[in-house]
């Protein structure tokens, strides 16, 4: 007998792979709905990291001994694994970073700082996470380039007309999120890339929220840079990826200087290693890279199309279920959205809501989700967000909706008493 759902995923079995899900919080089974912040880790990832430290731990690219060879081989195999996962032909385009934030900063400092001139323009959007906005705000100050911010439509989608209008002869870079971490909007990054390339601009895609949840190919998108974190896709914390076209990387100076990234060092002058190692100064997070490769194996074993289909079903169900709770307003597109639902409840601050839900074992995120300009645009200070991963169930969404009804009753009652 199979327990697979209509999409072909046996969610109950998948849940068994995640030790952290097997616990009670405040006397209730944990309902973990903060996956856009970070996902839980499957045993396969935890054990891949542990196995590396148990047996193969050595520094990479310099130790002339067996363990060093093993560590280097595993690290470089992880790089190839990442390249395959994102549809990049050449592993030389894969730079390991700490996270998506560091990956974007790498582009900002190693490309932007040297290439942008006063009057040049960077086009970005109102729905960016701070990590794809602040580096450009800073670089524009240092270079005299201008940041142009494209707005969103009523329904929370990118205003494509405004985007087209924002592109100009001085546009050098378009920096855009693939999937908004607040609205759940999926941006048409392939079309955006085509439009930007027509104007001679490069394109950086922040894929922190998309890589974990949908099949994705940098070749199909056609972009020039793509950044994401490992920890949002079942991988370890402290490992992220910048993918860039290798010829762009070759033309860029290093971001950080120090060990490992050199070819030859003299007191007078130094030369740099080939790409991608030129951008990996210091001892890298080898265990993290190996854990990330294990996470990619894990996702591929379930099937990325199946993961995307299941999460789309969850998103649709959650948008309807949470949206129908009295007093709740849901943001973002109603359909074809990423696996997250951001909402506010009338009369209940998101913090108070989050504390209430936590008492029921339900973990959501409350705050501005590192997207303050977007919250300003939506006219709210903070919001609540439930975000999903492959191991979540419709029953968990029902539990959330039921707890939301209770929260509304509780706060209406206690605040009402105070009134």
């Amino acid at each position: 007998m199979t327990n697979k759902n209509t999409i072909g995923i046996d969610v109950a079995r998948v849940r068994q792979d995640f030790p952290a899900l097997q616990q009670e919080v405040n006397g209730h089974p944990l309902v973990y709905l903060d996956n856009a912040a970070t996902t839980q880790k499957p045993l396969a990832v935890i054990e891949a990291e542990a196995a590396y430290y148990r047996r193969n731990n050595a520094n990479v690219h310099r130790a002339i001994h067996t363990l060093g060879e093993r560590a280097t081989a595993a690290y470089e195999a992880a790089r190839s694994r990442v390249a395959r996962f994102i549809g990049a032909g050449d592993p030389a385009g894969v730079v390991f970073t700490r996270n998506a934030t560091e990956a974007i900063n790498l582009v900002a400092y190693a490309w932007g700082l040297h290439r942008l001139k006063p009057g040049d323009e960077i086009v970005t959007t109102e729905m960016e996470h701070h990590s794809n906005f602040l580096p450009w705000q800073q670089i524009s100050r240092l270079t005299g380039a201008t940041v142009r911010v494209v707005g969103i439509t009523e329904s929370g989608e990118l205003d494509m007309e405004a985007f087209r209008a924002a592109l100009g002869d001085r546009t050098r870079l378009v920096a855009i999120t693939h999937l908004s971490n607040v609205l759940g909007t999926i941006n048409p990054v392939a079309e955006i890339t085509r439009l930007a390339h027509d104007r001679g601009a490069l394109v950086l895609v922040d894929a922190a929220q998309s890589v974990p949840h949908m099949p994705l190919s940098v070749t199909e998108i056609g972009c020039d840079f793509l950044a994401f974190s490992g920890h949002k896709m079942y991988g370890p914390m402290g490992i992220g990826v910048l993918w860039a076209r290798p010829e762009l990387l070759s033309d860029m100076p290093p971001f950080l200087f120090g060990g490992e990234m050199i070819s030859e060092v003299t007191l007078a002058e130094s030369t740099w290693a080939d790409v991608p190692w030129k951008f990996e100064a210091g001892t890298p997070n080898v265990a993290g890279a190996i854990g990330l490769a294990a996470a990619m194996d894990y996702v591929d074993a379930i099937g990325r199309d199946a993961v995307a289909a299941w999460e789309a079903a969850l998103a649709q169900y959650a948008t309807e279920t949470i949206g129908s709770v009295p007093g709740v307003t849901v943001f973002g597109p109603r359909q074809a959205r990423g696996a997250l639902v951001t909402f506010v409840m009338e009369g209940v601050h998101p913090h108070d809501l989050s504390t209430f839900l936590d008492q029921k074992g339900i973990a959501i995120r409350a705050g501005h989700h590192c997207a303050q300009p977007l919250h300003a645009c939506l006219g709210i200070g903070a919001s609540a967000r439930a975000s999903f991963a492959v191991y979540n169930t419709k029953q968990e969404i029902d539990a959330l909706a039921e707890a939301l009804v209770q929260a509304k009753e509780f706060f209406d009652r206690v605040v009402g008493r105070a009134l």
Partner: protein, 150 residues
């Protein structure tokens, strides 16, 4: 720790009816503090005369804990000397670490003692008090400045 213990009626009363909401006409110090992790926001105006807080008023947006705490704080420090208000800030911090309850200020303040059991919410309760500390620093710096001028 139950939700009822955190959300005591007196806290929600301050949330629903914040005391000293608004601006001080001629403030000695104005502080704007923002909790970057969650977006809670407070504007605090304080008037200090001869070492005594003559008026404290706030505006802002945030959760029930942050707003109630701001309301109780302003209620507590009206008419207090700056030194006494600073001691109250210290003992409020101690209460948020779960070390006893405050003995001074508004009697309502002890209702916030339960926040210590919810570590992630402590910063909500502290925002107004951090603003007060800054405002008092500002006010005293101002006085020092005036003294130097004279």
């Amino acid at each position: 720790m139950s939700l009822e213990e955190l959300y005591k009626e007196v806290i929600l009363d301050h949330y629903a009816h914040p005391r000293n909401h608004g601006q001080v006409e001629h403030p000695t110090a104005e502080v704007h503090l923002h909790n970057p992790s969650c977006g809670d926001d407070i504007y605090l105006d304080v008037a200090v005369k001869d070492g005594t807080i003559t008026e404290a008023r706030f505006r802002g947006a945030g959760c029930s804990i942050s707003q109630a705490s701001a309301s109780m704080m302003t209620e507590s420090v009206q008419g207090m000397t700056v030194d006494r208000a600073r001691r109250l800030v210290t003992s409020f911090h101690a209460m948020m670490r779960g070390e006893g309850t405050v003995q001074d200020g508004s009697p309502d303040l002890v209702a916030l003692a339960g926040v210590a059991k919810f570590p992630v919410r402590v910063k909500c309760a502290l925002l107004a008090w951090d603003a007060l500390q800054k405002a008092l620093d500002q006010a005293e710096g101002e006085n020092l400045h005036d003294g130097q001028k004279a």
